[in-house]
């Protein structure tokens, strides 16, 4: 008998959250769903959320891992505030995520896991599936585990392996519900389990069983379609911030023609950059897993001294340890890129949660007057371009540059319009090869009149032998100097040369051209701020948005921009670090709006705050 025909509904956007135990494969399930969705041409934004514990006890609240994907037929800026669909693989996943669901949301639960023991682990006396407490939601109870095992019965697969395939059943069901193309997932399974044909077969069978379950059972009466988004023509891939940042560094090596040397010490959430770069040795990339954060930057600085593009990647606690070496790099005036993938602090804080609270440290966190350049990417794919920009500034101006990513952009993903390699910036540098003084001497601190950079004279160059170090240097000669006037001159020169770095003007987005309120953000808040501004504009409330990529030096036109609005609001995931800089530097009454929960702003939070400001001033 043919299955009853299902109704097909058109939607413009959906937010799905896959949630389960750490061992349930939710990150992988979310990744695959995202990839299928990308193939279809929807715009996407994703947000994984996982515990810091590697394997918290099974079935407990601390062990819940989730992956949220937002996709739409128009361009979107955030992973979405509230899920329309929650897939809960066990009672813990349901309990941990229920509060985020709006009324009417679809909840798909794996009933096989709703045992007395599992319910008790998370404090449910009665199953929420039975007590009417889920009345506000459209609950779809599915015996995911037993259905999966049933589908695999003929394959003779071990029960444990069969149970592990239940995430593919869930993926199959969701893929059916949202009419996703699944060929790429089948290919993925063949690659992933290339050495275990039995697991390829099991996972494929589980996927098909989930798809067919949706098609045949009456529990799911509606299928949804989301049309492709209108996106700029070109070739796209989905990419996370850490991946994009790694590729940006490789691109910087290629475009500068320099070997790339990464010194790193494993730290969440930056380690993936080390992992990724270690795979790209064919580009002349050397990665060193150092004994500590200090050695990691020390080795990178040593390599920079020798003519490499020196990079170190870390998170806040690592930057704290690297401070002395960053200060040396400032004194030596050598190029160096320091990547800080920020996480919630202080101390160990919440290593898998996001925050923007290292801005003060990046700008000011060193002994002495120790200025450097600071930039921040605004989205996952923008990490690629931010890495290139950090390398450009470092190489052109011979200075350390701190790149402030954060956990939200590092692990989140979005479609990325692949750039043409030829159009990437040309980062070629010229090493010093000959004496630069009229008397035939080599002066290691004689500056380029345009960039104020000193010559990069790498060891191995005959005739340019010289000594550099952390002691104050005499202007031009670089000899040790305790002369008061010289120190005054050098301190001011180091500050001036950072201020003189050429950075693009900040753009203001205000379609109405009549906004009186400006929202100023930096880094990863771009998405939620942008989504909130759009929502207000759609309701006829004008608001202007400006977003800073360069935090040091700040764009030349920033002061003028700030002064042309009645009100400047600065939302940040810290207690007002950029707002303080803005107030001190421009004497503008910038109003901070802060959240330090470890989670990104939701667009709704910002929309409601801004609505109040726009309406009431």
């Amino acid at each position: 008998m043919a299955a009853p025909a299902k109704r097909v509904e058109q939607l413009d956007r959906v937010v799905i959250r896959f949630a389960g135990d750490s061992g349930d494969g939710m990150q992988l399930t979310g990744d695959r769903f995202t990839s299928e969705t990308a193939q279809l041409g929807n715009d996407i934004s994703t947000l994984p959320n996982f515990p810091a514990e590697i394997r918290a006890p099974a079935g407990t609240l601390p062990g819940v891992s989730s992956f949220q994907v937002h996709f739409a037929d128009y361009d979107i800026l955030t992973p979405g505030d509230a899920p329309n669909v929650l897939v809960a693989m066990n009672p813990a996943a349901l309990k941990a995520n229920l509060a985020d669901l709006p009324a009417g949301a679809d909840v798909i639960v794996n009933t096989d896991e709703f045992t007395r023991r599992n319910l008790a682990k998370v404090g449910y006396a009665v199953s929420p599936l039975d007590d009417g407490s889920l009345g506000d939601y459209a609950v779809h109870p599915v015996a995911l585990t037993s259905l999966t095992l049933g589908a695999l019965a003929e394959l003779g697969i071990a029960k444990k392996d069969g149970e592990r395939a239940k995430n593919m059943f869930a993926l199959g069901l969701l893929s059916w519900m949202y009419s996703r193309p699944f060929e790429s997932t089948l290919r993925f399974l063949e690659r992933k389990f290339a050495k275990r044909p039995d697991l390829v077969a099991a996972n494929k069978a589980a996927f098909h069983a989930g798809w067919n379950y949706g098609e045949t059972t009456e529990a799911f009466s509606v299928r949804y379609e989301i049309k492709p988004a209108k996106m700029r023509p070109g070739t796209y891939r989905n990419i996370t911030g850490n991946q994009a940042l790694s590729l940006g560094l490789v691109a910087a090596a290629v475009r500068s023609g320099l070997p790339l040397f990464l010194g790193a010490y494993p730290i969440t959430p930056a380690s993936d950059i080390l992992h990724e770069l270690s795979k790209h040795k064919r580009f002349g990339v050397t990665t060193m897993q150092a004994e500590d954060e200090i050695a990691a930057i020390g080795a990178a600085l040593g390599a920079a001294y020798g003519g490499s593009l020196g990079v170190t990647t870390t998170s806040g606690p690592g930057v704290a340890l690297k401070g002395e070496t960053i200060s040396l790099a400032i004194a030596l005036e050598l190029p160096l890129v320091i990547v800080d993938v920020q996480r919630a602090g202080p101390s160990t804080g919440m290593p898998t949660k996001t925050e923007q609270a290292d801005l003060n440290m990046a700008l000011f966190g060193r002994h002495g007057e120790a200025p450097l350049a600071v930039i921040a990417p605004k989205s996952p794919s923008d990490c690629f371009h931010a890495a290139l920009e950090a390398a450009r500034i470092a190489l052109t101006y011979r200075t350390p540059v701190i790149l402030l990513s954060d956990n939200y952009v590092a692990n989140g993903s979005e479609p990325w319009l692949l750039p043409s390699v030829d159009e990437l910036p040309d980062l070629r540098v010229e090493f010093a090869t000959a004496p630069n003084a009229d008397d035939g001497r080599f002066l290691p601190y004689l500056r380029d009149p345009e960039t104020m950079a000193r010559p990069w004279a790498v060891p191995g160059t005959p005739g340019l032998e010289h000594r550099i170090g952390g002691l104050e240097k005499a202007d031009k000669t670089g000899d040790i100097s305790y002369d008061p006037a010289n120190h005054e001159f050098m301190v001011r020169t180091r500050a001036a040369r950072i201020e003189a770095i050429s950075v693009p003007d900040v753009d203001v987005e205000d379609p109405s051209e009549s906004a009186r309120v400006l929202v100023l953000g930096w880094g990863s808040t771009f998405g939620p701020i942008g989504a909130a501004c759009r929502a207000l504009r759609q309701r006829g409330l004008p608001v202007a948005q400006a977003h800073l990529r360069h935090l040091a030096p700040l764009p030349d036109n920033l002061g003028e921009v700030l002064k042309s609005y009645d009100k400047v609001i600065v939302p940040e995931m810290n207690l007002g670090q950029l707002a303080n800089v803005i107030r001190a530097r421009y004497l503008v009454d910038a109003v901070p709006f802060n959240q330090v929960s470890g989670l990104p702003f939701t667009a709704a939070t910002l929309e409601s705050m801004l609505e109040d400001v726009v309406k009431n001033g």
Partner: protein, 337 residues
């Protein structure tokens, strides 16, 4: 990098920089500097391919006085910085100059890891058993009970034996020499320079201001023969009518009258032998071996890292730009027309 040609015959003078040397008059560092400058031409390496990297402390001013490339860096961090330089520039001869505080106190971690990795560095540790630049506090090699400005009642912590520490990290080349014995110092430097991998050289160095005479026992003509054991490759280890023997049933080595002296072999693969030798010397300098304790071969970190990059490059096709284009596209991609 510039092609290097056959160097002109260099002399000690070529290695003297134009900077005024500013150690205290009578400091042992002068003797070491002169010995190094005099020995350098022997290497046959052009000056531009030699780099001295130092940390902080009296000894760490050394690079300023050498007319080579040089970096005076951060307290304790010279081995880390030199590791990055050496691993990325196999064409350079990289020397680290450090002191007992710099290498063993604040920089202990980097030292042991550089030695463990066998980075191609020549590490010269000037050991004067005191903090000089900060004006006279005890150091991690000061004898227990040392009375200094910061320990008026005597230091309470036991000292490191730098050679035992280096050997514990399985350093492939470990030696000890003395600032005032130029001939011996240069012979040790020569062996260190020839070594591929980390060469660790402890140089007993006199701080005549804060710890004067620390090594007189093994320097003075009157006493040194009773206490100094000169290690010579392939020679029995004997001194002053005494033998260094390996007593049956014992783990270590012992100084005694009579018995069969062991024959020194720095190439013994097991570090236990060199470690046993290193244990003959204590804080009191009663029996102090000098010379090359260990000199074995194993692949350097630089070589291994370099090979991985070269192998990956050899397998790669196309220009870097083409490869980059391939890398950017190496994922599930889709095209919007």
């Amino acid at each position: 990098m510039a092609e290097t040609t056959i160097p002109l015959k260099l002399t000690a003078k070529d290695f003297k920089s134009d900077q005024e040397v500013r150690w205290c008059p009578g400091c042992g560092d002068y003797a070491i500097l002169a010995a190094v400058q005099q020995f350098m031409p022997e290497l046959g390496i052009p000056r531009e391919n030699i780099v001295f990297v130092s940390g902080i402390g009296c000894s760490s001013r050394f690079p300023y006085y050498m007319n080579t490339y040089g970096m005076h860096s951060i307290h304790g961090r010279a081995p880390a910085i030199a590791t990055g330089l050496s691993a990325s520039r196999p064409d350079l001869s990289v020397w680290v100059v450090t002191g007992d505080g710099d290498a063993l106190s604040i920089g202990g971690n980097h030292l042991i890891h550089a030695l463990r990795r066998n980075v191609n560095l020549k590490i010269l540790l000037f050991n004067n058993r005191i903090y000089g630049l900060t004006k006279g506090q005890y150091s991690p090699t000061s004898e227990l009970g040392k009375i200094t400005k910061s320990t008026p009642a005597g230091s309470a912590d036991s000292p490191f034996n730098p050679l035992s520490l280096a050997l514990g990290a399985e350093a492939t080349f470990v030696a000890r020499t003395i600032d005032s014995d130029r001939k011996h110092l240069q012979s040790v430097l020569r062996a260190a320079a020839e070594h591929q991998g980390s060469a660790f050289v402890e140089i007993y160095q006199n701080c005549n201001i804060f710890n004067d005479g620390a090594f007189d026992l093994i320097k003075d003509a009157d006493t040194r023969d009773e206490h100094l054991i000169r290690l010579e490759q392939g020679q029995p280890i004997t001194f002053n009518g005494l033998n260094v023997v390996h007593p049956e049933g014992s783990f270590g080595l012992k100084v005694q009258k009579g018995g069969t002296p062991i024959v020194h072999d720095a190439t013994v693969d097991d570090p236990a032998y060199a470690f046993a030798l290193s244990r003959l010397s204590g804080s009191d300098l009663g029996t102090t071996p000098i010379g090359v304790f260990r000199n074995v071969q194993r692949p350097s970190y630089d070589e291994i890292v370099r090979k991985q990059v070269l192998d990956a490059r050899a397998q790669a096709d196309g220009t870097p730009e083409e490869m980059l284009d391939g890398l950017l596209n190496a994922a599930d991609t889709w095209t919007i027309l």
